[in-house]
């Protein structure tokens, strides 16, 4: 792959390409936006740690030319917390899927946001567990048919941006893979921001969700473009329904002391040994 000549090639692990994702899958666009953002912010790549959980989205860490770690299902955030708290000069970035971060890892997500750990989370939401074959998950719209909801999903989906904002995140945005420029801009801001930042990226799972719901990859992309509406609203009002409307934008952006900053002041209070 030595012919790869994108500007992001320095922040990609080119010897690992081609990647494993299906044709038409949006995850490559997320990776590309992240790699470009790394490059454009001019961050010292030695001080960035890319961390992911398990799933198609979680494979992204394997293609990034920073220190990178592919943890277990759901545990990317506590792992990243250990990295960022024990070595504050390192910026942990978590790239993972909706199932990984909000189902099996949901508890860690709300607590990392509550603590205001200095971490950027990029969550690829494809409304299902892509890797295991498109079963319904915590983001799947009600009534959707999946292999484990053959008569329609009887559960209700989370609105990820509302959930994360209420847990205390200091930056919350949502884009789709059909909005790569805005996505990259938000990632760049998240890379340099101090505090818990969260970016949801709506991305089609063409092989799973798409095939089961009889949508071609191109239909799915067109649909995102059509129903994606950029609006300045509260996170709780940012509807996310792939059948009607997905509200996009930057919903939250404010400053508050990070866990490490507060720990620093605790250290002063504690004094020196013993």
């Amino acid at each position: 792959m030595s012919s790869l000549n994108y500007q992001s090639s320095k922040s990609l692990r080119v010897d690992r390409l081609p990647h494993i994702w299906c044709q038409g899958c949006g995850l490559g666009i997320v990776l590309h936006a992240y790699a470009d953002a790394l490059q454009e912010t001019g961050l010292d790549l030695d001080k960035v740690a890319t961390i992911s959980g398990i799933g198609c989205a979680g494979r992204a860490s394997g293609y990034v030319n920073t220190d990178a770690f592919h943890t277990t299902h759901g545990r990317a955030l506590p792992f990243a917390t250990g990295v960022g708290i024990s070595r504050p000069e390192i910026k942990p970035i978590v790239i993972s899927g909706d199932g990984d971060l909000f189902s099996i890892g949901g508890n860690h997500l709300i607590h990392a946001a509550r603590r205001n750990v200095d971490v950027l989370v990029i969550c690829s939401n494809n409304f299902n567990y892509g890797m295991t074959g498109a079963q319904f998950g915590p983001t799947t719209p009600s009534e959707t048919k999946t292999p484990t909801s053959p008569y329609g999903n009887i559960e209700n989906p989370f609105n990820l941006v509302a959930l994360v904002a209420s847990a205390g995140a200091t930056m919350v945005s949502r884009w789709t893979v059909m909005h790569p420029t805005q996505l990259k801009r938000s990632i760049k801001r998240g890379l340099i921001k101090k505090g818990f930042s969260f970016i949801e990226v709506i991305t089609p799972c063409t092989t799973g969700y798409g095939r089961l719901n009889k949508m071609s990859p191109i239909d799915m992309m067109r649909n995102l473009k059509k129903i994606g509406k950029i609006r300045k609203v509260l996170p709780t009002e940012a509807i996310c329904d792939p059948t009607t409307e997905i509200v996009l934008g930057d919903f939250v952006d404010f400053e508050k002391p990070t866990y490490n900053e507060v720990f620093e002041s605790l250290t002063q209070r504690a004094g020196v040994a013993p």
Binding site: A68, G82, S86, E89, I90
Partner: protein
């Protein structure tokens, strides 16, 4: 200054473990409160911020162990402590630490199980869980302290072994020792041996994170060192890249196990009393070994030549030594605070019939209970 509290102390085992961790260089501790390990967290919450370390109370044990592996890969010596229920939650990530070769120390202050069991009661019911709890083929190192002093000494040793072999190491204590008050001597800093993981010396572009030499333990680059490594819990090649081939699985699993198996004789630690001429060999570990030693002495007073083999490492298990000692015995006694766990390992290695003395529910064995078994075994 004041990082190692050199001097004499009258403290409990959990306190000694916390101070052992600090003396070993531990600067990251994460845990979720649980009896009877909570006092380790309380001590470290107080101490770590004063020595430049970090203490994090996590939302659960799944998070605690994941953060410990993260901190380890960030170049810190890291530890967590819990009891059986917490270990049960940590098991998947203990496998991740084995697979990605993350040095770390996991303390299990054992209490009565299964399930919530008896939270304040000491037990030794998790010794097989620590060996086989995580899925797949693994080797584990586990140490069993019998005193407050050993809670300190063996915590340091656990860190040293984890750094040397790049593997998680268990300290298998129990509620009795964790809560026991005894005198503790902390040596001068110079008198404490500290082992640090080997760092790569190779040029950055040529570094392969899982390439090893003779000792099968790869040098470890950490986050921020500039090597841009990739590590995964998937089966991987020397570059750390996922590899789903039969050969990769065979090569990796063998190496991960063999780096410990091949060095087992060097890792194993036992203590022997009156084993030179014993007819009955008692095998015990942890708090139980203290009653067992009294029982052996009582037996000797009554003319029965008993001896004690105290296991300090539970894993690797000292098969060869047990085989050797039991060959010249008439019988063997195993006492442990469970309903039959390590006794099966002894039976596997021993050349003679084994009398088992179980114990359930808080109180360690009385020496007389073990003595009765010695008498039966000697016949």
């Amino acid at each position: 200054m004041g990082e190692v509290l050199t001097g004499s102390h009258f403290v409990h085992g959990d306190w000694a473990c916390a101070e052992g961790a600090i003396a070993a260089g531990c600067r990251f501790y994460a845990a979720y409160p649980i009896t009877p390990a909570t006092e380790i967290a309380e001590r470290l919450a107080q101490r770590l911020p004063r020595v430049g370390g970090k203490f994090v109370q996590f939302e659960d044990e799944l998070g605690a162990i994941a953060s410990v592996i993260g901190a380890s890969y960030a170049g810190q010596k890291a530890m967590t402590a819990t009891s059986g229920p917490g270990i049960s939650l940590m098991l998947e990530n203990i496998g991740l630490a084995v697979m990605t070769e993350a040095p770390c120390v996991i303390v299990n202050v054992m209490r009565g199980g299964p399930s919530t069991g008896q939270p304040t009661a000491g037990a030794q019911g998790d010794v097989m869980q620590c060996r086989w709890g995580t899925h797949g083929d693994t080797e584990i190192i586990a140490l069993a302290p019998q005193s407050v002093q050993e809670m300190f000494d063996l915590t340091i040793h656990a860190f040293n072994l984890s750094e040397r072999y790049r593997t998680p190491v268990f300290l298998m204590a129990d509620a009795n020792i964790g809560h026991l008050y005894e005198s503790l001597k902390i040596p001068e800093t110079d008198g404490i041996d500290i082992v640090d993981r080997r760092k790569p010396t190779i040029a950055k572009g040529e570094y392969k994170p899982f390439s090893t030499g003779e000792d099968l333990v790869p040098p470890m680059a950490c986050f921020g060192d500039g090597y841009h490594f990739y590590a995964t819990g998937l089966t991987h090649d020397e570059r750390g890249y996922p590899d789903m081939s039969v050969e990769a699985q065979d090569r990796l699993v063998r190496r991960l196990c063999d780096k410990i198996r091949r060095d087992a004789a060097r890792i194993e630690m036992v203590e022997e009393h009156f084993t030179d001429d014993c007819d009955v060999l008692v095998v015990a570990y942890g708090i139980t070994a203290r009653s067992a030693l009294s029982a052996v002495k009582l037996a000797r007073e009554q003319g029965v030549k008993a001896g004690l083999l105290r296991l300090i490492t539970l894993w690797p298990f000292p098969d060869a030594r047990i085989e050797e000692l039991t060959r010249r015995c008439v019988g063997v006694v195993v006492a442990e605070m469970n309903y039959g766990q390590l006794v099966r390992e002894v039976e596997r290695a021993a050349m003679r019939r084994v009398e088992f003395v179980p114990k359930l529910g808080e109180n360690p064995h009385l020496p007389e209970e073990i003595l009765a078994a010695i008498e039966r075994a000697g016949k």
